[in-house]
């Protein structure tokens, strides 16, 4: 029996599983080195075995969202395919995601590596927003499946607004905002280092701090006013307990003054940092990046689509991606887009209840059942007969 395996190849995490699996495995897409462990690097989720997570050094295959170092990426694949998620390439068709507007040479490299190095029998390239579109349109009201939708993909390297009309991306209307999880973590790191304590070497820990502490403001000026107050009137202020390498494995948030006598952990007081960091998604210009934020760019993208599609697009906006997990993001998008959209249109923004990070992966089962699936795929025979350039041109024409 042939299997179909979907690899959602994010710059931060790989989501992998056979499309019939209940859920995908999520594996960090990087090699990490620890100060404390000079003997070995940690590939993917091997980092769970590392006792001291301070000063983690990252090696990534991606630059600005695109694979530029295949040695690193191949090493991570080798580890995953042999240890974490063994794949028998001779009876498994692969679906793999690539970034939007992927550069031709990177597409070539990917095809060549999977056919030459892994001997795969069939490869289907797609994008995470495409998979998200499949998942979304196939899980709404079956009597009236949406004709159009807009995917807001808040990723690690950047964020994209991608309108779909009848299952196809409107390429000329796609908008990219150069803000993603990595920049937000680096910014938080910068701010903490300047205001409180030098954590410039601690991306790993500060990324967790960001995930544990930050939220999207619903009323920015009101939240700023609140943050100006002194505790306890100030309802925003929290302490983040930093991990040590013995008892506290992961940091956590607590209300100020929780520490008991004898606690010797280190805390950082977080106040406006909790919401000014995710705010950059809505106002990149706060940091001097002269681009629209995700809400404004959504309206701009919809305005670039045919007029008759706009009411459908506004009514079917879906948020996904690893960096869309900040509490409050859906409500804020709903509010901001509502205020910018023409009044006659219904605006509806939704976010997956369970996990915006893996949501796209689930769409692979619908892609595999698409009558067009075989046409979208590159078979081994195609590859052998036409070579990498040939299959790429053929694939592009579709």
């Amino acid at each position: 029996m042939e299997k179909i395996c979907c690899i959602d190849n994010g710059a931060c995490n790989i989501k992998i599983g056979n499309i019939t699996d209940e859920k995908p495995l999520v594996i960090p897409n990087c090699i990490m080195k620890a100060k404390s462990e000079k003997r070995r690097p940690f590939i993917g989720n091997q980092i769970d075995e590392c006792r001291d997570i301070s000063g983690i050094f990252y090696i990534l295959g991606f630059t600005k969202g695109y694979i530029t170092n295949w040695e690193v990426q191949k090493n991570i694949y080798d580890y995953i395919f042999s240890t974490e998620f063994p794949v028998n390439f001779s009876d498994t068709k692969l679906i793999i995601t690539e970034p939007l507007f992927n550069f031709p040479i990177i597409q070539e490299a990917m095809i060549e590596i999977f056919f030459e190095e892994y001997d795969c029998i069939s490869l289907t390239k797609t994008t995470a927003p495409d998979l998200c579109q499949y998942q979304y349109t196939n899980t709404q009201d079956p009597d009236e499946p949406p004709l159009c939708c807009v995917v807001i993909d808040v990723g690690y390297s950047f964020s994209h607004i991608v309108p779909f009309v009848k299952g196809k991306k409107v390429l000329s209307a796609i908008r990219r905002i150069d803000i993603g999880g990595k920049l937000l973590t680096n910014h938080l790191k910068e701010v903490i280092s300047y205001r409180f304590l030098n954590v410039m070497d601690e991306s790993f820990v500060i990324n967790q701090m960001k995930e544990d502490s930050c939220f999207v403001s619903q009323d920015f000026n009101a939240d700023m006013a609140m943050a100006k107050k002194k505790y306890p009137e100030n309802k925003t202020i929290r302490e983040y307990v930093l991990p040590d390498c013995t008892t506290i494995r992961r940091g956590y948030l607590q209300t100020p003054g929780t520490a008991k006598k004898g606690d010797d952990y280190q805390v950082i007081r977080l106040n406006n940092e909790r919401f000014t960091v995710p705010e950059l998604l809505f106002h990149p210009s706060d940091l001097g990046i002269n681009q629209m934020g995700i809400a404004e760019a959504t309206v701009d993208a919809i305005n670039a689509c045919p007029e008759e599609t706009r009411p459908h697009l506004y009514a079917n906006i879906i948020v996904m991606g690893g960096s869309s997990k900040f509490p409050g993001i859906r409500n804020r998008l709903q509010k901001d887009i509502r205020s910018m959209a023409p009044e006659i249109f219904t605006v509806s923004v939704s976010i997956p209840d369970d996990d915006p990070l893996t949501y796209a992966w689930y769409g692979s089962q619908f892609l595999a059942n698409d009558p067009e699936f075989d046409n979208l795929s590159i078979s081994r025979q195609d590859y052998e007969e036409n070579g990498v350039r040939g299959v790429l041109n053929e694939n592009d024409a579709q």
Binding site: E116, S172, I174, L183, V191, G288, M292
Partner: protein, 154 residues
């Protein structure tokens, strides 16, 4: 209060003032720093063993089938190792009209720029005369001058 402040501003004006180009270069460097994967050096860089880690086909757990011969690390390194800038340039030439990476960039915002104090993060109404950094109060201004301002200018 008002006199003290103008006194300070007079002091500042005697100091060096950064020109526009330097200010912009500084701003660009700050943004570039936010793209970095690491701020520190590779902790194992001095170790010989770490050199042999990310290699293509000599990894022990390579799941590829026997029979087909790997093209080897060098093949891919030579053929595919282009920097992001090179890829972008190439794309602009091959596909000048788009849609592509360059054309997809979100346009400038229509909302007015907001300003925040570089020291404490709260809304700011003042600009440092020397370097253009924003601050919100005298205390933050002093911190800024003591820690950053012209400190990193050669």
């Amino acid at each position: 209060m008002a006199t003290r402040e103008s006194g300070r501003i007079r002091d500042v004006e005697k100091k060096r003032v950064l020109d526009d180009l330097t200010r912009r270069r500084r701003a660009r460097k700050a943004l570039e720093a936010l793209e970095q994967d690491n701020f520190h050096e590779d902790p194992h860089a001095d170790l010989v063993m770490s050199k042999k880690i990310p290699k293509f086909n000599n990894s022990l757990d390579n799941p590829r089938k026997k029979g087909r011969k790997s093209r080897g690390a060098d093949y891919y390194r030579i053929k595919y190792r282009k920097t992001f800038q090179q890829l972008l340039e190439e794309d602009r030439q091959l596909n000048a009209d788009g849609p592509n990476y360059s054309t997809a960039q979100a346009p400038e915002t229509n909302y007015p720029q907001r300003h925040f104090c570089a020291v404490c993060g709260f809304p700011s109404s003042y600009t440092c005369v020397s370097c253009g950094t924003r601050f919100c109060c005298l205390k933050c201004q002093a911190t800024h001058q003591d820690t950053r301002c012209l400190k990193f200018v050669s």
